[in-house]
């Protein structure tokens, strides 16, 4: 169940984008969803001093990042004091091994999972599968995507690429649910299917929205209750999180929570805000007897080295940048071929995977600025996209692996020649004059440029000459 039928990769961005653009179903599903989300987000902030709130959110995240190593140590100390076991993983592979070891120590055969993008990043399900442990997603969207042998196409709404009919087919084929267009019936069927699995699971795995260093508290934001089930019913709870999710104080959480829910889905609040500070204590009747926290680096400490790119680590994973991106809205999340799609994915994934694999992602943007404008913590996404574009062609001094991978000798030579001509007037005049005379020989096709555009045709007389002539006529 964990191997996708269709593998999407960032290397195939252009082909995948072509496929998505030519698929009316995908386009309609995304268009409808994203248009609605944009309106909902705007309305959700209508009664707020949005700029003040965004500034506060950005400052809280910056403050946490400025003290990141200290806060991680404090978080570890507080969690351990509360009875939560803390583990550290340098990469996804190591994090998977830690989770698998915990499962094996308890003889686990079945894992139930709440939504966690870090676990997607780690490919945890496939890893557990290899160890003979079944991992079942319990978030409805993730469950549907897993049934369909796919990966999520959005970080908040994993099954947004599917419509009701498609979901009905998937549930019918995979679980025997009667075909229906009634969403309540489908939801009730999924509820019944998953309730059994919550009770049977040996281990629950969840993500973390905010980890509070001050109190050793793991905060989980959700609507469905599957997160609460996952972290309450099985005897062992394993939370996995990127190291950047730590915040300094409990008081830092309310503004970030207010920003997260409104930015993500336009909700003023989610149904559940679940704060876990320890395993079941003596005398308590439910809750896991063990809680583990796995702190995952996976390239984040490398991002942390660079002042500019460090802004990426502020992200609170709301997905607003995707919802507002004219590119994402048209091609959908699978096109990007990465765990995190859309604008945030286009600046985060090059750090995590290197520019060799992700060189097309920073160019998957119109640079219209919408992503930066809606980002609740003011990540300057367009600036970072430009920065990565420069690094991809070997300009600037960054630390992203694979810098310079897109550098083309022909392109560099062309621009250098252009620069020389444009700064030497007589050579410029001579060259443009010759080009004007030979304009009949200009090619009709210029590679991908002319797929959707007409080829530029040199003018017979340059603008410079035309202006000069007009001035002479005016004077005479």
């Amino acid at each position: 169940m964990s191997q996708p039928v269709e593998i999407f990769t960032p290397q195939q961005f252009h082909r995948q984008a072509q496929d998505a653009l030519g698929n009316p179903q995908v386009r309609a599903n995304f268009r409808k969803a994203m248009d609605g989300l944009m309106v909902k987000r705007r309305d959700a902030f209508a009664e707020w001093q949005l700029e003040e709130l965004r500034q506060l959110g950005a400052n809280i995240r910056l403050r946490a990042l400025s003290r990141l190593p200290d806060l991680l140590e404090q978080l570890e100390e507080r969690c351990e004091a509360n009875g939560i076991r803390v583990h550290w993983a340098e990469d996804g592979e190591q994090a998977c091994r830690i989770v698998t070891d915990i499962c094996q120590q308890h003889g686990a055969r079945s894992v139930i999972k709440g939504k966690s993008m870090v676990s997607e990043e780690m490919h945890l399900n496939a890893h557990l599968d290899k160890a003979g442990i079944e991992a079942l997603e319990s978030d409805l969207g993730e469950y549907l995507v897993q049934l369909n042998e796919q990966t999520p196409s959005h970080i908040i709404m994993p099954a947004i690429h599917l419509n009701t009919d498609q979901i009905s087919d998937i549930m019918h084929e995979r679980t025997g649910t009667e075909r229906t267009r009634d969403v309540d019936t489908m939801t009730a069927a999924a509820r019944a299917q998953l309730r059994e699995r919550f009770m049977a699971a040996d281990v629950g795995v969840s993500g973390v929205n905010f980890a509070v260093a001050e109190t050793g508290t793991l905060c989980l934001v959700e609507n469905e209750g599957n997160g609460r089930m996952t972290t309450t019913v099985p005897p062992v709870h394993v939370a996995v999180t990127g190291i950047e999710k730590v915040v300094e104080h409990l008081a830092d959480v309310p503004p970030l929570y207010a920003l997260l829910t409104r930015s993500a889905t336009g909700q003023h609040v989610t149904t559940y805000f679940n704060m876990i500070s320890s395993p079941r204590r003596d005398g308590e009747h439910d809750g896991p007897r063990e809680v583990h926290l796995v702190l995952v680096d996976n390239g984040r400490s490398r991002i942390y080295q660079d002042d500019e790119l460090l802004d990426t680590l502020r992200c609170i994973r709301c997905g607003a940048c995707m919802n507002h991106c004219p590119v994402y809205t048209r091609v959908g999340g699978h096109t990007y071929g990465t765990t995190y799609p859309g604008p945030i994915g286009s600046i985060l994934m090059p750090h995590l995977l290197g520019l060799e694999a992700t060189q097309d992602l920073p160019t998957a943007s119109s640079l219209c600025g919408a992503c930066g404008e809606v980002c609740p913590v003011k990540i300057p996404i367009p600036d970072l996209l430009v920065r990565l574009r420069r690094e991809a062609v070997g300009e600037g001094e960054g630390n992203v692996p694979g810098a310079g991978v897109k550098r083309s000798t022909r392109e560099v030579a062309a621009w250098k020649s252009w620069q020389w001509l444009a700064t030497h007037p007589s050579a410029w005049r001579g060259t443009t004059g010759i080009i004007g005379k030979l304009r009949g020989l200009a090619p009709e096709h210029l590679g991908p440029w002319t797929e959707y555009r007409s080829a530029p045709k040199p003018a017979a007389v340059s603008l410079h000459t035309l202006i000069k002539r007009r001035r002479q006529e005016d004077q005479s």
């Binding site: 506060l56 400052n59 409990l250 309310p254 207010a258």
Partner: protein, 217 residues
């Protein structure tokens, strides 16, 4: 070196200058200055917008209101605590009714299937609420475990109107949450819901389908 030491070392040995730590001005999440009536109105507006049902009642007649809900919703088996005031009063009153009372002050491992399959409703007290978002504040206890507000298809919560405060930030700071967090702290705003199927809202996907709040004045 361990993974822990490697990660911390990489973070500490940042080649660039230390990052600035800007001051945080929290005034945007506090200082609402609402009156008691406004607080109730905000709370009702927001909890209703997410499908929470409010029944206004008085502190001296809330048990009659509870009986009415149980009858309206066809509740036959009600799970509830034993020692908290809400559960004690409810037990006294419901003793004469036909509703079967299910004790929750026992290890869930012994009766999990019963809880998942046979309990119609869970009754809980609340510690307070947040006007700005229409959220109930609960800290589960041995008397009222976590699953009581999650597993039964109907969650009935009892809330005193004078325990509604303006914002989450206010509740956390005024009640000193940071000085001692419980095992599990919860905010609940409406019944369980999803919009994962083509953005269509559906309730009760994993938790309760209905949330009824007895708001005591």
């Amino acid at each position: 070196m361990s993974a822990r030491d490697n990660i911390l070392q990489r973070l500490r040995e940042r080649s660039s200058a230390p990052q600035p730590a800007p001051l945080s001005d929290f005034s945007v999440v506090t200082g609402r200055q609402w009156t008691a009536e406004e607080r109730v109105a905000h709370f009702e507006r927001w909890i209703s917008s997410v499908h929470g049902e409010i029944i206004h009642c008085r502190k001296d007649n809330w048990r009659e209101a509870l009986v009415g809900i149980l009858s309206d919703k066809g509740v036959q088996r009600l799970a509830l605590g034993r020692t908290n005031d809400v559960a004690r009063e409810a037990r006294e009153w419901l003793g004469e009714n036909s509703v079967e009372l299910v004790d929750v002050d026992r290890d869930i491992g012994d009766w999990q299937r019963e809880m998942f399959e046979r309990v119609d409703a869970g009754l809980t007290s609340t510690l307070g609420a947040i006007a700005e978002t229409g959220s109930l504040w609960l800290w589960p206890t041995p008397d009222e475990p976590r699953l009581l507000s999650l597993v039964p298809p109907l969650h009935i919560a009892v809330l005193d109107a004078d325990r509604i405060e303006d914002t989450l930030f206010d509740v956390m700071s005024r009640h000193g949450w940071a000085e001692g967090m419980p095992t599990n702290a919860l905010l609940i705003s409406g019944p369980s819901k999803t919009a994962d199927i083509e953005q269509t809202l559906a309730y009760g996907v994993h938790g309760p389908r209905e949330l009824v709040i007895l708001l005591r004045h």
